[in-house]
C-alpha cells in the first residue's frame, strides 16, 4: 500500500475537504486563541503556526500520519547511525558532528565521536595559527586573506553563517579578510585575484570528493596565480597556501596538499549537512573557535529537542507536518523563505539547496515511482527587499504560496535608538505582511467597496519563526530545525533525502560536450545543442579575424 492509500492519509484528505473552503480570516474570527494553541517554542526558537490553514483536528491528524509512518523510530534511526541513506548504503550523521565530546557514538565498532572531535581540534589549531599570524605565506608574510573555494554544501553553509554571525568575534582574533568563491566560470575569482596580495592569501579548498570540477578549476587558477606571483615551484605553493577540507584524503594529497594541511570529514556527512564539520572552518576563522562551538551547541540543543520532545510539540516535526498539509492536502507547491534581518541574507539560498536537493525526489525508498507531490519549489529573499519585488504575486497573483517569515525578537540592544527603531520597523513590516497575507483586506474596514485591483484576497498561509536574538546558539538551532524538518518530510513521503542522483548526469554530459566544444566537427548531439555549439564557434572565428 502506498502512503497516499493509507488510512491516515485518506483521513487527512477527507479533513482537507472540510477545511479547504474556510478562509483564514474566519478561522481567526471563530477562535481568539489560535496563537496559544498553535505556537510552540524550543531551543531559542518560537514557531507560530496560527496563520496556517489548520484546525485542532488538522494537527491531530497530521500527528497520526507521522505515527503511522513510524516517525519516532525513524528519528532514532537517524541519530543512532542506521543506514538511512539507502541508495548509498550509509548513515547520515550530521547530528553526531555537534554532539558533545563525552557522548560516544559507535559506528561499525569505531567511536566516531572521537574522530569528529579530533578533526575539530585539528581545525581549531589551524585557525589559531592563522589568527596568531603564524601561518606563513611563501615570502614569510602572515596570512591576511582567506578564500574559501567550494560549491554547494561546501560554500552555502559557511557563507550563510559567516554573514549571519558577522558581529560575533572575539578580541584576540586578528582581522582575517574572508572571501567565498564558487562559480565554475571563474568570474568571482578573477575579480578577487586583482584585489588581494598573493603572499598573504590562503585558500581553503572544500570538496567532499575532492573531484568537484567547479572547485578544482578555481583551485587550479588560484594556484597558477600564486606560482606566477612567487616564481616558486608548484609543490611549494600547494604546501603553504592551501588547506584541503575533504572526505577523500588520497585525492587531496594527489592534488598536492600535505596531510598536515588536510581536514577530514566522512562519507556519512552529506555535503549540504556539512557546515558543522571542518567545512565550517571559514566560520571559525571569522567568529573564532569559541563561537563555532557555540553554533554547534545551539544545533545540539535542537537535536536534543527533536529526539526527545513528543511529536505534538516537536518544532521540526510540526514545521514538517504543516508543510505536508499545505503540499499534499491543500495543493500548494511554492514556498517562500522571507527573513526580516539583513544578516540572514543567504538563508534562502541555503534552504533552497537543503530542501530541494534533499527532497526533490519522485522515487520511493523501495524504488517505486510515487504519485504524490514531494518538495515544493522553494525560493526567497530578504523580506523587506522582496516586498518591493515578488510580494505583488503573493498578495494578488493566482498562485497559492506558503511562506516562512523569520526574524529575531531583539536586535541592536547595545546600539543607539536609531538602529533599534530600524529593527522595530523591520518587525512591523514582517508582522504586517504575514497578517495581510492571512487575512487579506478584511483587516481594513470598508475594503469591500474598493475596486477589484485594490483588493487583497488573503488566505495565504505562513509560519512565523522568531528567535530570541541572533546568536551562534540560536542560529545553530534554527538551521538544525530546518534540517530535521526536511528529514521528517522525507519519512512521510518515503523518500531518501540524503542522496542527489539528479545532479550526476549533467556532469557527465558536460564532460562529453567539452570535447565537442573544442572540436565541433565531431559534434553528435541533438540539433539544438549542435546549433548552439556552431554559434559559439562562429563567434570565436569572427573574434579571431
Amino acid at each position: 500500500m502506498t502512503i497516499d492509500q493509507s488510512p491516515a492519509w485518506l483521513a487527512l484528505k477527507r479533513h482537507a475537504d472540510e477545511v479547504r473552503d474556510t478562509h483564514l480570516k474566519d478561522m481567526f474570527a471563530e477562535d481568539a486563541h489560535r496563537f496559544e494553541k498553535f505556537s510552540f517554542s524550543a531551543a531559542h526558537c518560537l514557531a507560530d503556526f496560527a496563520k496556517q490553514r489548520i484546525t485542532n483536528d488538522t494537527l491531530q491528524q497530521l500527528i497520526k500520519l507521522a505515527e503511522q509512518q513510524e516517525l519516532p523510530q525513524k528519528i532514532e534511526a537517524l541519530f543512532t547511525g542506521e543506514l538511512v541513506n539507502t541508495s548509498e548504503n550509509r548513515p547520515a550523521l550530521h547530528t553526531a558532528l555537534r554532539q558533545p565530546k563525552e557522548t560516544p557514538l559507535i559506528l561499525q565498532g569505531v567511536d566516531i565521536s572521537e574522530e569528529i572531535h579530533s578533526s575539530l581540534e585539528q581545525m581549531e589549531a589551524l585557525v589559531e595559527q592563522i589568527h596568531n599570524g603564524q601561518w606563513r605565506g611563501y615570502d614569510g608574510s602572515p596570512i591576511k586573506t582567506v578564500v574559501n573555494i567550494g560549491v554547494g554544501g561546501s560554500d552555502l553553509g559557511p557563507l550563510m553563517t559567516c554573514r549571519a554571525l558577522n558581529l560575533f568575534t572575539t578580541d584576540e582574533i586578528r582581522d582575517i579578510e574572508l572571501h567565498f568563491v564558487s562559480s565554475m566560470d571563474g568570474s568571482q575569482l578573477a575579480r578577487l585575484l586583482n584585489q588581494i596580495d598573493p603572499a598573504s592569501t590562503l585558500f581553503i579548498v572544500s570538496s567532499k570528493s575532492f573531484s568537484t570540477i567547479d572547485t578544482l578549476a578555481n583551485s587550479n587558477t588560484a594556484r597558477e596565480w600564486l606560482v606566477n606571483a612567487s616564481g616558486l615551484p608548484v609543490e611549494l605553493i600547494s604546501q603553504h597556501h592551501f588547506i584541503g577540507v575533504t572526505a577523500s584524503p588520497a585525492k587531496a594529497s594527489e592534488w598536492g596538499i600535505p596531510e598536515k594541511n588536510q581536514l577530514h570529514f566522512w562519507d556519512w556527512t552529506g555535503g549540504r549537512y556539512s557546515m558543522w564539520s571542518a567545512i565550517g572552518m571559514a566560520i571559525a576563522l571569522q567568529t573564532g573557535n569559541a563561537n563555532f562551538r557555540r553554533l554547534l551547541a545551539g544545533a545540539h540543543d535542537m537535536d536534543t529537542h527533536f529526539r526527545s520532545a513528543p511529536l505534538t510539540e516537536n518544532l521540526p516535526v510540526l514545521l514538517a507536518m504543516v508543510g505536508i498539509w499545505n503540499i499534499n492536502f491543500l495543493n500548494i507547491h511554492a514556498h517562500a523563505i522571507l527573513p526580516y534581518d539583513g544578516r540572514l541574507q543567504h538563508l534562502p539560498a541555503y534552504l533552497e539547496q537543503l530542501e530541494m536537493e534533499s527532497n526533490g525526489k519522485s522515487v520511493t525508498l523501495k524504488g517505486e515511482k510515487l504519485n504524490y507531490a514531494t518538495c515544493p519549489i522553494l525560493w526567497g529573499e530578504l523580506g523587506p527587499n522582496a516586498q518591493h519585488a515578488f510580494y505583488q504575486l503573493l498578495h494578488q497573483g493566482t498562485e497559492s504560496v506558503m511562506c516562512d517569515f523569520i526574524a529575531p525578537a531583539l536586535r541592536y540592544q547595545e546600539h543607539g535608538d536609531e538602529l533599534k527603531a530600524q529593527h522595530q520597523l523591520a518587525l512591523a513590516n514582517c508582522l504586517a505582511q504575514s497578517r495581510l497575507l492571512a487575512l487579506g483586506d478584511s483587516v481594513l474596514e470598508d475594503a469591500v467597496n474598493a475596486p477589484s485591483h485594490k483588493r487583497y484576497r488573503g488566505n495565504q498561509p505562513s509560519t512565523t519563526i522568531m528567535i530570541d536574538e541572533l546568536t551562534p546558539e540560536s542560529f545553530g538551532a534554527l538551521i538544525a530545525m530546518y534540517e530535521h524538518k526536511v528529514y521528517v518530510q522525507s519519512v512521510i513521503w518515503e523518500i531518501n533525502p540524503f542522496d542527489q542522483w539528479g545532479v550526476e548526469l549533467g556532469k557527465q554530459v558536460a564532460t562529453s560536450l567539452l570535447d565537442q566544444l573544442a572540436n565541433p566537427s565531431a559534434a553528435t548531439t541533438d540539433s539544438s545543442t549542435a546549433g548552439l555549439i556552431r554559434f559559439v564557434q562562429q563567434q570565436r572565428q569572427e573574434d579571431k579575424s
Binding site: 595559527q129 596568531n132 603564524q134 606563513r136 611563501y138 615570502d139 614569510g140 608574510s141 602572515p142 616558486l232 611549494l236 604546501q239 603553504h240
Partner: protein, 421 residues
C-alpha cells in the same frame, strides 16, 4: 630647593636622581607596591645604565628619599606619571591646592596629551601663583641620565612669568650645553612633543620602505641614505634602515598621536607607519624563511640582540620578540644572546623549551643554521669570523642593522643578507 617627584617608572627616577645630584632635597613618591621593593628589583632602574648607582649614591648622602603618599612641606612638585594616570595627577593636584595655598609650582612631565596641562591648571588658583608648567619628557632609554642633565634643548610650556622664573632656576644646573631654550604655551609644547616623535617615526618608516624597495632593485640603501643625508634639508639623523623600532615611550607616543588624528576623522600617516613597522619587525624572519624555501623544520637559529636598542635591557615592543615568536611557531630551536636583556627575555618566555638563553654570543651560534643580528650592540660589530665559520652549521648571517660589510663577509665565505642591500 625641596622637590617632590611623583611616579614609579624610569622618567620619575631619572628626574629624582638628577635633581638630587644637582643639590636639591628630593622626595620620590611612588605607589605603595613599589615602595616595598628593594631598588635593585625595580626593572626600570636595573635596565638603565648608571641609574641604580646614582640613586644609591644620592640616597647615601641623604638628598634622595623614598616616600609614600604623605603630606610634606614642599613647594615644587614634579609629576612624572604614566600616560594613563591622568586621574592620579588630578588627585595629587587637588590635594596640593589645599595644602599649599600660594606659590605652588608643579612641573608636569607626563605625556597626557594636548591640553592636559591646562586641565590640571584649572584646578588651581593662578592668581595665588599656583601654577602647572609643562616640560616635555625627552627621555631616551639607554642615555636617560645624560639626556636629563645635559640637554641640548629644553621647552618650557607656560605663560606665567612667576612660574617661568621659578622653573628656570630649578633647571639652571642642567643648562650648560643648552642650544635651545624654548618658551611656548603648555598646549603648544604638548603638541610639539608629539609632533617630533611622529616625525622621527615617519623618517624611520620611510627609510625602511626605501630599504625594502632597494632589496628588490639591486641598489645599496647605505649609499642611498648617504646621498640623502648629504642634502642639508634632510640630514642624516634617523635614516638608518633596520628591522623596526621599539621601546615603550616612543611607540606609545606615536600610537596616541595617531589616535588623536583618527578621532578627528583624519587618516593618519602615522597609523600606516605604525602598522608597517610591525610588519618590518618580522623582516629578518621573512628573509630567513625565503632563504630556506619556506621550510625551517629542525633548524637551529641564533639571535644576537633582544633589547629594542643597544644600551638598555628593555624588550618593550622589541623586534626580537616578533622574530622569536615566529621562529618558535615554526618549531625552530632558538638560541639567543643579549648582553643585558636576557633576564627580561627569560621572564617573557617562561616554559618555552625551544628557546635557549646564552650568556656568550658564541654559545648562541653553535650548530646554528643562521645568525640573525637584531640589536646593534657594540660588541657584535667585529666578531671572530673564523669562529663563526667553524661553529655554525650554515654560514648564513642575516643582518637586521646593517652592521657588517657585505664584501668582507662574503670573502670569508658567509652568505650575507642585509636590509636594503
Amino acid at each position: 630647593m625641596k622637590v617632590k617627584v611623583y611616579g614609579a617608572d624610569l622618567t620619575a627616577w631619572v628626574a629624582a636622581a638628577s635633581l638630587a645630584k644637582a643639590g636639591n632635597d628630593v622626595l620620590i613618591e611612588g605607589p605603595e607596591t613599589q615602595l616595598k621593593k628593594p631598588l635593585q628589583d625595580i626593572s626600570a632602574l636595573r635596565d638603565e645604565p648608571g641609574l641604580l648607582d646614582q640613586i644609591q649614591l644620592q640616597m647615601e648622602v641623604g638628598r634622595l628619599k623614598r616616600t609614600g603618599a604623605e603630606e610634606c612641606e614642599t613647594d615644587i612638585h614634579w609629576l612624572a606619571l604614566e600616560h594613563n594616570e591622568f586621574q592620579g595627577a588630578q588627585q595629587i593636584i587637588r590635594g596640593l591646592e589645599q595644602a599649599v595655598p600660594q606659590n605652588l609650582l608643579i612641573i608636569n612631565q607626563c605625556n597626557f596629551g594636548v591640553g592636559a596641562t591646562e586641565q590640571l591648571q584649572s584646578i588651581l588658583n593662578e592668581d595665588a601663583n599656583q601654577v602647572v608648567v609643562y616640560i616635555p619628557n625627552n627621555l631616551q632609554e639607554g642615555k636617560a641620565l645624560q639626556g636629563f642633565s645635559q640637554p641640548k634643548r629644553i621647552t618650557i610650556g607656560s605663560d606665567n612669568n612667576w612660574a617661568i622664573t621659578m622653573t628656570r632656576s630649578l633647571i639652571r644646573p642642567f643648562l650648560q650645553n643648552i642650544e635651545h631654550l624654548l618658551l611656548m604655551s603648555s598646549r603648544e609644547a604638548e603638541f610639539t612633543k608629539l609632533a617630533i616623535t611622529g616625525m622621527l617615526a615617519i623618517r624611520i618608516g620611510y627609510i625602511n620602505e626605501l630599504a625594502n624597495l632597494a632589496d628588490q632593485m639591486d641598489v645599496d640603501i647605505d649609499t642611498i641614505r648617504e646621498g640623502m643625508g648629504a642634502d642639508p634639508r634632510i640630514g642624516s639623523h634617523y635614516l638608518a634602515p633596520g628591522c623596526g623600532f621599539g621601546g615603550q615611550n616612543f611607540n606609545q607616543n606615536i600610537a596616541r598621536f595617531s589616535d588623536i588624528f583618527e578621532k578627528r576623522g583624519q587618516n593618519s600617516l602615522l597609523k600606516t607607519v605604525i602598522s608597517e613597522n610591525e610588519t618590518q619587525k618580522e623582516l629578518l624572519f621573512k628573509k630567513l624563511w625565503q632563504h630556506y624555501q619556506c621550510d625551517l623544520t629542525n633548524k637551529t637559529i641564533a639571535v644576537w640582540g633582544a633589547s629594542f636598542k643597544p644600551g638598555t635591557a628593555s624588550i618593550d615592543n622589541a623586534p626580537s620578540l616578533k622574530i622569536i615568536d615566529a621562529l618558535l611557531a615554526q618549531g625552530v630551536t632558538v638560541k639567543v644572546h643579549d648582553p643585558e636583556a636576557l633576564s627580561n627575555l627569560q621572564k617573557y618566555y617562561t616554559d618555552e623549551p625551544s628557546i635557549h638563553f646564552c650568556n656568550n654570543p658564541y654559545d648562541a651560534i653553535t650548530a646554528a643554521d643562521a645568525l640573525l643580528v637584531v640589536t646593534e650592540w657594540p660588541e657584535y660589530w667585529s666578531p671572530d669570523y673564523e669562529k663563526l665559520l667553524q661553529e655554525m652549521r650554515m654560514p648564513l648571517i642575516i643582518d637586521g642593522r646593517n652592521i657588517f660589510d657585505r664584501e668582507a663577509l662574503e670573502m670569508y665565505g658567509f652568505t650575507y643578507i642585509g636590509v636594503g642591500r
